[in-house]
Assembly symmetry: C2
Homo-oligomer: 425 residues x 2
């Protein structure tokens, strides 16, 4: 089965807003084995809306629309579709009572305009809205299915899960989408592409998409199949070959964020961590604490912008700051060692660099970042120069710091296997 | 003049990717006085692409497409449009040499497939690509203008600015878009809507959009006009009336972020700030340091998850933690006072709360956050319960903290005006 999505709303034709509802719908439809073959975005004009539905119904078995079910005169999806299908719209008394009751519960009288939201097309099935006032409508016409959903994401998502999915499940065929998402750190997009293009190219049934973010390349693999066992086998095989080619740079095959992987490693090793950040300004601590339950491994962190606070909070020696400068390998290591000692954490991380746009020099240009990692045995350091603006440089630095922690545990494991003598810093 | 945008690419019909190029194009087109009336997104299928162009050319004077100009067989925008218009495609020797030269500069031989990128439609004007290999094409047919642009954003943006904008500028009328973006903190969407709907409704020429984020409501005002002076006057008048209705809750009329406003206030007052965060995990420090030059007002911050570190880093008394619990008004104030004292900052902020999903209790449920603000004269506190998940709760808390700092300076100014005696904490 193939579907088209129509998003109705003039605000979606401004430079400020994207139709993000279609991402949710596409994901859920794909899981039902339904492919989305076109998306159309139109404004709140009767003729545009009518035309969009007309064309979509000429092409697709299933048309799902979002938006235009509100109470105002701008909300004209109902009327445009009714006109197109030659059906009447009528007030549905049960819906009207539901809307009135909703307003009463909030201690308010229903404004007259909201009556519009109780208007249903002749022959349409009501899709109740558990999160708001506007009901959805399920319409069957000339062998096509037309589903009108409200625009607010939380209303739409609840309605789709509760009312639409069970119906589509019964109609959809046996074909389903199978999916893997690999993520890598430490490689550029072209390095990834070069290494894996010869691998995935022969898998013509698998749709491969490569996405990039600072310090992270994602590889999305999708396959449509009515044979789950062989689809999973094919994906596993491809994941295995790609992982072999990219090695330890791959940190997940299930779309997990790098901070989730680091959280898992810390938990697994019953290790704790503390951070001392300068140019990233707290971003590393913020990412480490995004994970629920992070208090079990994250002890704390400091953001020490000034040299005085570097000295006061992590015992970096004034002489070292004077001799090497705040942005230096030595200070990165001293920050890591100092915060580790102060907090008693298993690992300490120190970050110092020039995030820009100002503050760069020929010696220490914008984008230069030093990252220190300390454990009980000592510390090591990585110096990198990141491209892009302040935001990208900061993100890339936090990503690299997290990846150093991930690799720390990776090598620890490898060394343990190779040489039972233990881990050296 | 009205335009439609067609985005070509199967990856844009997956749950992972949105067509973001259209935001850039819409903004630039709007500034030229060209409205975008429809967006269509199709996959890499010949018939779908052809149909999308056919329909768009039936409706709009200007059709701009993105994507499908790459070297592989999947890239079929050129062929689909040529077939639709009944024109031949031919290798353009100059373009071919340009592509070959580009590969040579990178020390590589041009792969045979890249020849496809030198294919131009009969009668098309070449739009040179200063950032990549695929040129764009400008095609005029039956009174319509068709512009084919490459998909990679940096290539498309450069090409649009260098080659397309100057041509459209000559064609576009005198109508232009005029724009204001108000942002508020401290009000809900329905409070904003209720107060301003009666104000903006009579301004039928102004398109008003209300967008929401945790702790922030944005009001976007746009007007199309060929008379800049009266458009600006109208917007100023509407901004004035809305600002009067929403009062000090409005923090910008120019779309600035709250952290930018706080940075400006701190700089203006030659004040400094330091943070002690628990549940926000560094997010407040991270937001304060997003702004270039933040080292002039941000001294530093601590993320003290554990009670031990709250005591060690901000001198919160163990007895207070014992008596009131870590999530309490008193501890929020003690964190703010402690970090201020330790760093010597003008202002100290302390945040403690339950970000969830675990850790809640009937007394102190998930979403409860206490925020303390300290100055030389003492400290105050706000306790709020934020809805949503961990990410939303943390963001909302950081937003509220920033807003407390903004209002601190606002009231300081008001008091100074009213009573020259100075500011009380």
């Amino acid at each position: 089965m193939q579907a088209e999505i129509i998003a109705v709303g003039s605000e979606l034709l401004t430079p400020d807003r994207l139709d993000t509802n279609s991402l949710f719908l596409t994901q859920r439809l794909n899981h039902l084995g339904i492919a989305v073959v076109r998306k159309t975005i139109v404004g709140d004009q009767h003729d545009q809306v009518r035309d969009a539905f007309q064309r979509a119904l000429e092409r697709a078995e299933l048309v799902i629309s979002t938006g235009g079910l509100g109470p105002t005169l701008d909300d004209l999806t109902r009327e445009a579709v009714a006109e197109l299908l030659g059906r009447k719209v009528m007030i549905n008394e049960a819906v009207l009572h539901h809307i009135e009751a909703r307003f009463r519960r909030l201690g308010r009288t229903m404004p007259e305009v909201n009556k519009r939201q109780a208007m249903m097309l002749e022959g349409a099935d009501l899709l109740e809205n558990s999160r708001g006032t506007a009901p959805g409508q399920w319409i069957e016409a000339a062998g096509r299915i037309l589903v009108l959903l409200p625009g607010p994401p939380h209303e739409l998502q609840a309605m789709f899960a509760e009312k639409v999915e069970p119906r589509l499940e019964r109609l959809a065929g046996a074909t389903r989408l199978f999916y893997r998402e690999l993520r890598t750190a430490g490689l550029t997009e072209s390095e990834v592409e070069e290494r894996i293009a010869p691998i995935y190219a022969p898998y013509s049934d698998v749709q491969t998409t490569i996405l990039t973010a600072p310090g992270e390349i994602q590889i999305h693999l999708r396959i449509w199949s009515d044979d789950p066992a062989s689809a999973e086998r094919l994906l596993e095989e491809l994941v295995g070959r790609i992982t072999f080619a990219l090695g330890e740079n791959v940190f997940t095959a299930n779309g997990q964020a790098l901070e989730e992987i680091v959280a898992r490693e810390l938990t697994l090793h019953q290790a704790t961590i503390a951070t001392a950040e300068s140019c990233t300004g707290g971003l590393l601590a913020e990412r480490l604490t995004r994970i629920p339950g992070s208090s079990s491994y994250f002890l704390g962190g400091v953001v020490c912008y000034s040299n005085n606070l570097k000295i006061a909070w992590t015992d970096v020696s004034p002489a070292l700051l004077e001799a090497k400068g705040a942005v230096s390998p030595e200070v990165a290591q001293a920050l890591a060692e100092g915060i580790r000692r102060r907090t008693g954490a298993t690992l300490g991380i120190g970050i110092t660099g020039v995030a820009g746009p100002g503050g760069g020099s020929p010696d220490k240009p914008v984008g230069l970042v030093h990252i220190g990692l300390a454990d009980a045995a000592g510390s090591r350091e990585r110096g990198l120069r990141f491209p892009g603006d302040r935001e990208r440089i900061r993100w890339h630095a936090s990503q690299t710091a997290l990846d150093m922690v991930r690799r720390y545990f990776l090598y620890a494991r490898q060394e343990k296997t190779a040489r039972p003598g233990g881990v050296q810093g």
